[in-house]
């Protein structure tokens, strides 16, 4: 009976190709609108470290001045950033497996012999631990030496793209590059890498950037450079003399510190260590506010920084609204299509089809249309995401890099398309099967 009903449903679709195409297009548009907006919202609130959420933390301290709380947008009224001197002190702890400072910089890049045209690149100032916490893989070489994090050594890790540009993708380990007049030795080249954690890396950094090279943060102690981060200074910076001193010796907050523990239990011990550090600092007149700190998990960081309720949340609601509108349209079109079947339904009912048979036949027809709508919706979703990704490049949060049509989104798109159409098909199918047989026959 199912095969027969499938045949009937298919025959009915081929009889009205224009109307069916309109229904499929309506559904596909609604599904794509909902899925593009859902994916963008999902990407914004997605936790790239969900598998180790309880072992990774952003260190936040309330180092602001006594008069008021930190005036940032963070829900916990603590900056995402800490000062360099606090980073140096906190990174002496061996409780954390990885200590990863993150700051941004950049400039003109070339080969020492200047044989290529110079290009502007974004650089990440960080530690060797970065490559462990962010689980990056290397095509050639590896991170710089551990000693480069204690005493500056001009070493650099390149991304796949930059290595391609400078060295045609060849093994460049041991070769030299020139960044802002400083000669760096290449220690490693990363594999092509889907930067799902871009929004974590760039928290409070310049908007919309994608790091292309990585250099040790120690650079700031040895060369006069100006990181591209915001600087929040609770004290009068003139106390420290030159701007360089402000950067390394002052209390201005300009880098974020991420830590990863071997086990979740170590987090409490590290918290005690941070609290002790703050208490100690209070004795020399720093940290005038009540003792507060946070070891915020990536999930909490996303929430604290309101990334889970960004404009994409509203965007997502609009997308869902569009899907509902399209569903209402599809219901109307399906109803019009099914009403045309009424005389035939009357004949079939008189000849022995039960109400259930008729309902199933029409629901199957809706399912076929839904499947087609879902597949077309999938293609439109892919197109929409590409469009959105390109239009956001260089403007917003780097999380747009994660706007991709993965298997999760693909499955969800097909399911949404199918369920939406089945839902849209239920009412017209029910209407057609509950009409009295005598009345349907009279119309035939």
């Amino acid at each position: 009976m199912w095969i027969y009903q499938c045949q009937l449903a298919w025959r009915s679709i081929t009889k009205t190709p224009a109307l069916c195409a309109l229904i499929i297009a309506t559904l596909a548009f609604g599904v794509a609108a909902a899925m593009v907006t859902y994916t963008s919202h999902h990407a914004m609130q997605h936790n790239p470290f969900s598998s180790k959420n309880d072992r990774v933390a952003l260190v936040q301290t309330d180092a602001w001045h006594a008069r008021e709380a930190f005036p940032g947008y963070q829900l916990n009224q603590m900056s995402n950033l800490i000062s360099y001197r606090d980073y140096k002190a906190l990174s002496t702890s061996s409780i954390a497996r990885y200590n990863v400072p993150i700051a941004h910089w950049g400039g003109t890049l070339n080969l020492p012999d200047m044989r290529l045209p110079s290009s502007m690149v974004f650089a990440q100032l960080t530690s060797r631990d970065y490559f462990g916490l962010f689980e990056t893989a290397f095509t050639f070489g590896g991170p710089w030496a551990k000693t480069a994090d204690q005493q500056f050594q001009p070493q650099m890790v390149l991304t796949h793209e930059i290595n391609q540009r400078l060295f045609n993708g060849e093994n460049s380990v041991g070769r030299q590059v020139l960044l802002e007049g400083i000669v760096f030795d290449v220690t490693g080249v990363l594999k092509p890498w889907h930067r799902s954690a871009a929004k974590i890396e760039n928290i409070d950094g310049p908007l919309g950037i994608t790091q292309q090279v990585f250099v040790p943060l120690q650079l700031v102690e040895h060369r006069t450079i100006h990181p591209w981060n915001r600087r929040d200074c609770p004290d009068d910076i003139t106390d420290y003399g030159s701007p360089e001193n402000t950067l390394t010796k002052g209390t201005c907050q300009w880098l974020s510190l991420w830590v990863e523990f071997n086990k979740a239990e170590d987090k409490a011990a590290y918290g005690d260590f941070v609290a002790s550090f703050i208490s100690e600092q209070k004795t020399i007149g720093r940290y005038p506010r009540p003792l507060r700190y946070a070891l915020s998990s990536p999930e909490e960081v996303i929430h604290i920084n309101r990334q889970d309720r960004s404009e994409f949340y509203l965007f997502s609601l609009v997308g869902q609204g569009l899907l509902i509108m399209c569903l209402i349209n599809a219901i109307t079109l399906l109803l019009a299509k099914f009403i045309r079947h009424a005389p035939q339904v009357g004949i079939r009912r008189a000849l022995g089809a039960s109400r259930w048979n008729i309902f199933n036949q029409h629901l199957l027809e809706s399912a076929f249309l839904g499947l087609a709508g879902g597949l077309l919706g999938l293609a439109l979703t892919q197109g929409g995401l590409l469009l959105l990704k390109n239009s956001l490049k260089g403007y917003g949060n780097s999380a747009h890099a994660t706007f991709v049509l993965d298997s999760h989104v693909m499955t969800l798109t097909l399911l949404v398309g199918l369920c939406a159409t089945l839902l849209a098909g239920i009412y017209p199918a029910w209407q057609i099967c509950r009409t009295p047989i005598a009345q349907q026959l009279k119309n035939s």
Binding site: G352, R355, P436, A438
Partner: protein, 227 residues
């Protein structure tokens, strides 16, 4: 004595609108035995169509009892009624009611599909039914490619293919010219002679007179039964 195929006892049917209640059938009693050929006549609005709808299980009675081939239909759900309709009743409609985009073969296949017969069984029944009405060479034609009389013969074949307990014909000659009408009537008489039970509603007094038993309905009640 042969068994009653159709037995209606004190059957009533009311149609209600917001303001008015109309009694379409009033204490209707009828018994049709296997092998009978009955014609039902009556003026417009007398209740003929209501009788046909109730007899064909297309509508439920408001009150009263109806036994179809020994089964009381009272309280049966839609699936059970559909099954009874499919297995016990062969419909022949005035406007043929063939499905326009299905071939003759596929039209005959419709009731058999809902009965869940195998492909082999369906093929045997369709072939036999088409042979019976003399249309075995037209299986792949669409209804629109046949004359009115041929279409009605297809409808008769469709009704016969299910091997029902009785044939319920609603003005089967109403849309045909007199020559075609006579052919269809001859066919029905032939089928009756072979043992088919037939209940036929008609306006045509001449055709009605050809049946061994005639029923006349006025104001929803049996006014006259002539055997």
């Amino acid at each position: 004595m042969s068994q009653a195929i159709l037995h209606m006892q004190n059957l009533n049917k009311y149609y209600r609108t917001d303001m008015v209640e109309t009694r379409a059938l009033a204490d209707f009693n009828l018994e049709v035995k296997a092998g009978e050929f009955i014609t039902v006549t009556g003026p417009s609005g007398s209740g003929k169509t209501t009788f046909l709808n109730l007899a064909g299980l297309l509508e439920n009675p408001s009150s009263g009892e109806y036994w179809l081939d020994g089964t009381s239909v009272k309280g049966l759900n839609d699936a059970a009624l559909s099954r009874l309709r499919n297995q016990k009743i062969g419909f022949i409609f005035q406007s043929f009611n063939l499905i326009g985009d299905l071939s003759i073969w596929d039209n005959l296949d419709v009731p058999l599909r809902y009965r869940g017969l195998t492909k082999k069984e369906r093929k045997a029944r369709i072939t036999a039914a088409l042979n019976q009405v003399g249309l075995s060479g037209r299986t792949h034609h669409l209804p629109s490619q046949l004359s009115g009389g041929q279409q009605q013969r297809v409808a008769v074949a469709r009704a016969l293919a299910g091997n029902p307990s009785f044939l319920l014909a609603d003005e089967p000659t109403g849309n045909l010219d007199s020559q075609m009408a006579r052919q269809i009537m001859n066919l029905l008489e032939e089928l009756n002679a072979q043992g088919a039970t037939i209940v036929m509603v008609t306006h045509d007094a001449d055709l009605a007179r050809r049946a061994p038993r005639r029923l006349h309905i006025i104001d929803g009640q049996v006014a006259d039964v002539r055997a």
